[in-house]
Symmetry: C2
């Protein structure tokens, strides 16, 4: 089972004139889930201070699969699709807490950054070890059909 | 020249622990630019009331190209890449107002929705006319290299 990296209720200021969660706030929920993933791999606030590293999002793709209304509880599960010495390729799934219905999915590429100079850098050794453990724990998890998508008219 | 669909300064609550615009708020800026596009094609508040239609974002892709700090003024230009009877395929470019440097780009697929039943519907005739005018006005504008991207490790 993939780890839950963030749980929240839909907030009032995330809802737009359509009466549902505005597109950008699905990504905010995923952004907080990336923070949750950072906690898991030792890049929480203390880890960022120790290593001088943080993660930047280089690129992301979002598929909006269902409307979510004010107050609904959702959670994010995060899969590590791949990585190299300084990148993480991940997939967030936003699902309802009550029945597990998937609300959105987001594939993302994250880069490890040395905050001293703002440039990419290899993961710290301890962080790399945690990433390896996470990969091992998720071995065999299936890939979503929303991974690797290109946007286009049908 | 592509129309400017939104202009803003980077707000304090959009900045994260890295001291720059958080990934999700680039999409919020694009989301407001989509509202600006809706104004251009007659789906502003009055147009939504008249037609009973709105637009939902089905899918989007974002490339984060440069950091933006608190207070910086940015604007969004929007290109119509394509459309059919009920979909718009668009591309937002977020650029600095002072020197035009591109901060992010977002390709998106939007669907026209009948708010009475929450289902997709063909564009209203007047809206379709405005879309055709916009396509004509943008004829020959080049496509960004960030259109049609797939996320993957190098």
């Amino acid at each position: 089972m993939l780890p839950v990296t963030y749980t929240t209720a839909v907030q009032a200021d995330w809802v737009d004139y359509n009466g549902h969660l505005r597109d950008a706030y699905y990504l905010l929920i995923c952004s907080f889930a990336t923070d949750g993933l950072m906690d898991l791999i030792g890049l929480d606030q203390a880890g960022r201070a120790r290593t001088g590293h943080t993660l930047y999002t280089l690129e992301c793709h979002l598929n909006f699969l269902a409307e979510v209304k004010l107050g609904v509880e959702v959670q994010v599960r995060t899969q590590l699709l791949g990585h190299d010495r300084k990148r993480l390729h991940i997939h967030h799934v936003v699902e309802r807490c009550d029945d597990g219905q998937i609300m959105a999915e987001s594939e993302q590429m994250l880069m490890n950054i040395d905050t001293a100079n703002g440039r990419s850098a290899p993961f710290d050794g301890e962080v790399a070890g945690r990433i390896a453990e996470l990969v091992e724990a998720q071995h065999g998890a299936p890939r979503s059909v929303y991974v690797g998508r290109v946007i286009g008219l049908p």
